[in-house]
């Protein structure tokens, strides 16, 4: 160990559903201010991994540490208060609330545990809400009901609501799935800004390889709940296993193309 505390450390993590192991003995870490991209075929256990780390479902074995603090077995709300905020693959927000109400709720309950909530939202929550609106560019939509937002706006709202909880680690589950080229670029910009301005560590699951290569410092590929590859984005194309299990030849072509055109965006910002 280098002595630098890792943002996230996952050690021998296993999640079983009956006889099937969705995540198998997985070990990896994320360094502070790093962006780790997680890819892999459908059913590889990516979302299950997020669910276990964020405390929504219990690990069968293994350990998870967040900035040196053991969060294995902690409840989702505790994990949130300790500074880990995640988004969901399905565009899950609080549909019956406006954008502002969504963010106020996330800010109020997400930053720390409220043993005795007050009858009004405090100043800090309003400030967190405004900051999240600003950084995601949602400010003009403040009073719109969440149910009426476009797909892109919902994705941004999810991101904003995670940011509003004041996290140190963001975990994004397919943040740009289903978006157009331009929208993906827009999201990438927003995520870069969040990382730069908030000194944020980010883990993201994504199939869109151009997005991953543009943002991620490192990539991990999962297959059947186990690690198939971990390392640089460039090295991924070299790995015969990754190519055969996940990318395929057409995926490989896309990846190479993306690497040539949009490579290194994440690195530039980190520097």
């Amino acid at each position: 160990m280098t002595g630098v505390q890792n943002a996230l450390e996952v050690v021998n993590l296993t999640k079983r559903y009956g006889a099937m192991a969705a995540v198998k003995d997985l070990t990896f870490h994320v360094e502070p201010n790093e962006i780790l991209g997680i890819s892999g075929p459908n059913g590889a256990g990516k979302t299950t991994l997020f669910d276990v780390i964020s405390g929504l479902s219990a690990a069968s074995a293994g350990r998870v540490t967040l900035f040196g603090q053991d969060i294995t077995g902690a409840r989702a709300e505790q994990v949130c208060h300790l500074g880990l905020a995640r988004t969901f693959q399905l565009n899950a927000v609080f549909d019956s609330m406006t954008v502002e109400e969504n963010l106020l709720t996330a800010a109020y309950f997400g930053r720390h545990g409220r043993s005795f909530p007050g009858l009004r939202f405090d100043r800090q929550s309003h400030a967190d809400c405004d900051a999240a609106l600003e950084i995601t560019g949602l400010a003009p939509h403040r009073h719109r009901p969440a149910a009426q937002l476009t797909v892109l706006e919902r994705k941004l709202l999810m991101l904003a609501s995670a940011v509003a909880t004041g996290p140190r680690l963001l975990m994004l589950d397919e943040p740009v799935g289903g978006l157009t080229r331009e929208e993906i670029d827009h999201c990438a910009g927003v995520i870069r800004r969040i990382r730069a301005e908030r000194a944020m560590t980010i883990v993201l699951i994504e199939h869109v390889m151009s997005f991953v290569t543009a943002l991620a410092d490192r990539v991990m590929v999962l297959h059947h709940g186990a690690k198939l590859y971990e390392g640089s984005v460039a090295g991924m194309a070299e790995s015969a296993e990754v190519v055969s299990a996940y990318l395929g030849t057409s995926g490989l072509r896309d990846l190479k193309q993306a690497a040539e055109t949009g490579n290194g965006g994440g690195h530039d910002d980190a520097a």
């Binding site: 964020s54 405390g55 929504l56 409840r75 989702a76 709300e77 949130c80 208060h81 905020a85 995640r86 969901f88 899950a92 927000v93 609080f94 549909d95 019956s96 609330m97 109400e101 106020l104 709720t105 996330a106 109020y108 309950f109 997400g110 930053r111 720390h112 545990g113 409220r114 909530p117 007050g118 009858l119 009004r120 939202f121 609501s161 909880t165």
Partner: protein
Amino acid sequence: MTRISAQRQDYLLLAALTAGLALLPLTGQSNYVLGQATLYLIWAAVVSQWNLVLGVAGIMSIGNLALFAAGGYAVALLGLYHGVSPWASLPVAALAGLVMALLMGLATLRLRGAYTVVVTLAIAMVMYQLIVTDVDCFRRTPSACYSLTGGARGLTRFGDFGFNDIFGYGAAAWGNFLLALAVLAACMAAAITVVHSPYGRAFQALRDNEQVARARGIRVEKFQLIVFAAAGLFTGLAGAVYAGTQRTFGPQVLGFPTLLFLLSIMIVGGRGRVWGPVLGTLCLALVQENLTSMAQWQGTIYAVLLILILILAPEGLAGGLSRLAALVRARLKGGAA
């Protein structure tokens, strides 16, 4: 442009409405009208709390009348066996409702949807069946023998709020009316405060998406219990006022007809909307009072209303009105520009 917050608007509306209704006894209404109005106020109060649980927090409890019964029986039993006046029993009734609600909340804590329906219904039905089948002799008078809970016939002669003794003969009708109005006002004030506060947002969050609520730091179980507890407190109180004003309390309040009536109020008024229970009660009261010739089809009429609103206008009267208000506001703004 000065903008009054939605919460302040609601408070102002409630104050105006309460003040207006408080004048009703001065308009020389008959005791029948006041008596019916008293009942409707109580039902509106019950639904205002049930709506927090079912409408706002999305917890499928259909056993909330058990909380009402807990409050009512607290008053009736204390009055009958210990001579306690309903006034003194009010806090006990609220507490009884609270305890019952916590029980129900704990039992349904890990359950969702249809399972919650089954358990809450089961709890209310246990209460109903135990009361109805309670025929063991508990209290003997020279002519008859009464069971502890009064069985299917219910309890009577346990006292009332004594407005006739305080203000003179004939005061009972308006006294009861004002008391029921006060309880409804308190219930609505509580509901308004809650829905605009972080509590209300937490309730909404657990209805909208429980997983996201957890991931945003909301302890779901805690807020499930809080919403039940609040509803229990106020519903118990409403039960006490029912017992003290009607001077009788029986297991009928736990039966399906009452349940359906209140459910219709909630759906017609607008599920999850703070003014829904009041609007729904007003609507169903008008229907009930104008269709007395068809009394035997009453349940069917409520049911048909409920079905039509739920299928055709699921946001109910409150939703429709707020849409209308938004439209008018937009029109006015357009005209000013």
